[in-house]
């Protein structure tokens, strides 16, 4: 029962990943694309948590930890570039 609930959650997250990447592909300005990349990073972090649960390996959660630490470096670099400060 709980596994089915988590599978439904994974399907909803995949749909939202598709929607976020659609905004990344059609976004009119660079800022829209950066926001979509940020949302994609967070959604795929949750997806990695689901993969760790479905395969039963606790070591996969470490990948999500690296995602959480590293992901905002890229976004801050994009922001500094847009601000002409990099």
């Amino acid at each position: 029962m709980a596994d089915q609930l988590f599978n439904i959650a994974a399907v909803i997250m995949l749909i939202s990943l598709v929607l976020a990447i659609v905004r990344l592909l059609i976004g009119p300005s660079v800022g829209d694309r950066a926001v979509a990349l940020d949302a994609m990073t967070i959604i795929s972090l949750s997806l990695i948590g689901w993969i760790a649960l479905s395969t039963g390996r606790g070591i996969y959660m470490d990948v999500a930890l690296v995602y959480g630490l590293i992901s905002f470096v890229g976004i801050v670099a994009i922001a500094r570039y847009l601000e002409r400060g990099l």
């Binding site: 390996r57 606790g58 070591i59």
Partner: protein, 116 residues
């Protein structure tokens, strides 16, 4: 089944990267195409080491006797190749920045033989 899908996705990525490398005029776009090609080859190599129903070859408490592992050699090779790919990309970007600062343009047609 999953290996064929992964290998075909990787091969398509290599082809897309090669197309970008050959047809784009801006140096930065060509380097982006090269980096996409890099990702495609890494995907092919990792995909060839996958076995159905296997798990990662890392020993912890959730491993029981009789568990199947994937081949660890391709992932070790790809681990090195990713780092070297970053170094190659950074070297190409350094050349692009030097060319742009000396010639004032990043388009490939400004670097022909007869304009030297």
């Amino acid at each position: 089944m999953i290996i064929q899908i992964i290998v075909s996705i990787g091969a398509l990525l290599v082809l897309i990267g090669l197309w970008g490398l050959l047809t784009r005029r801006n140096l930065i776009k060509m380097i982006i195409g090269f980096s996409i090609m890099d990702t495609g080859t890494h995907l092919i190599i990792v995909g060839l080491g996958y076995r159905k129903g296997a798990t990662a070859p890392i020993l912890d408490s959730s491993i029981t006797p009789g568990t199947h592992f994937v081949d660890p050699i391709p992932s070790a090779l790809v681990l090195t190749a990713i780092v070297i790919g970053l170094a190659v990309t950074a070297l190409m970007l350094a050349y692009a920045v030097r060319l742009h600062s000396s010639r004032g343009s990043a388009l490939i047609e400004d670097f022909k033989e007869n304009t030297l």
